[in-house]
Amino acid sequence: MKAIAQQKNGQLFEEINALQAASRHYLDSTSINPLVRRWRALRHEIDALMKVDACSAWELAGAWKGLSGDLAATEEAFANRTKLGNSGTNRINWMVNRLNLGLFSGAQALYAEVGTAEDGYFTQLLEEGCCSGAIQQAVRFIERAGEMHIKGNADLTTEIIKANAILQVAGLSDACIAQHLDVAGLVLRRHRIRPDGTLRVTSAPGYFNGVTYAFKVPVPAESAFDMNIELAEEEDRAGIDKHVAFDVVFEPLSS
């Protein structure tokens, strides 16, 4: 997911987005390669910006640190940015970076603040809200947007409403989903893979009804299966109750 660029700092955000698009893994800051060299060079530009525009610089610093999978430093940078006030994009970029780091509960909390139809980002952020597992929240925003005659992505809206219907019957809340997704985030961080999840809603009454978050992993199919075993073990440690209506799965990027 891309950070949202803003005014003259847009070029730096674009460079961060380009670095992110170059790999499905977090950058290894200890390695020496063109991507890491470019990443290190950006640090100097962000530090220089800090002296004249701390708000933008902290936001960029958070996105920059997120590229290396540095969870604590990313959170700290965006928290520092927020202490200086809200610009409109800082909480959105924080949410995007939390999604990129596999912090789905945290992303849901921010989505509840920034995804409203009233704030003007409803259409743009519906997919991010969906990725965070905030299905019930997204449905509330969709309903409110409907009252305001705002239309989002029709296919995505349909999928979210179908998912919500299945999850409601199963009694699974957004918080339950986020807890489950957070465990997947933990496993992905261990493998230094940036989350790239897709919502799958399978609705075939009498055959199979279920909501599945499938995360693409850039590994062979056998390794993806082993990662699913690892995920199941972590889910067990986290005390996650398994309900047929919902699960999270790793699937190989391509065969």
Partner: protein, 132 residues
Amino acid sequence: MSSSPSELVDCALSLLGDARSEPQYRTVCSRAYYGAFHAANLFHNALPAPGTVGDARGRHEQLIAQLANPTCSKRNHKYFVSQALSKVLRTLIDARVRADYLIDTEVDFGMAAKSSESARVVMLKTSEFAVN
């Protein structure tokens, strides 16, 4: 005459090699799912005790639920293999539903390839853990 799960998966892999059109991709997804379903069902039947069905309805949904909720000891590695199988079956059944029920949605070569590859791994893992 009868067919084994591995023959169904081999059939899916073979069909994929010759598949050039969407109806053929759909057929691959369907064979791949059923091969994986039967392999996973044999794995589940060989566990010391059946998994919990919960609210699941229909044999396919029930198997996915049972694999996700095994009742054997967690010290038995098959407990977590069972849960991983449940996860993979979800992606395969989703592709199968799209392939056979939702003909107004696109099913491409990539989805067919992913289904057949996932089914191959299900065969591999169920065979591997059947003897261990």
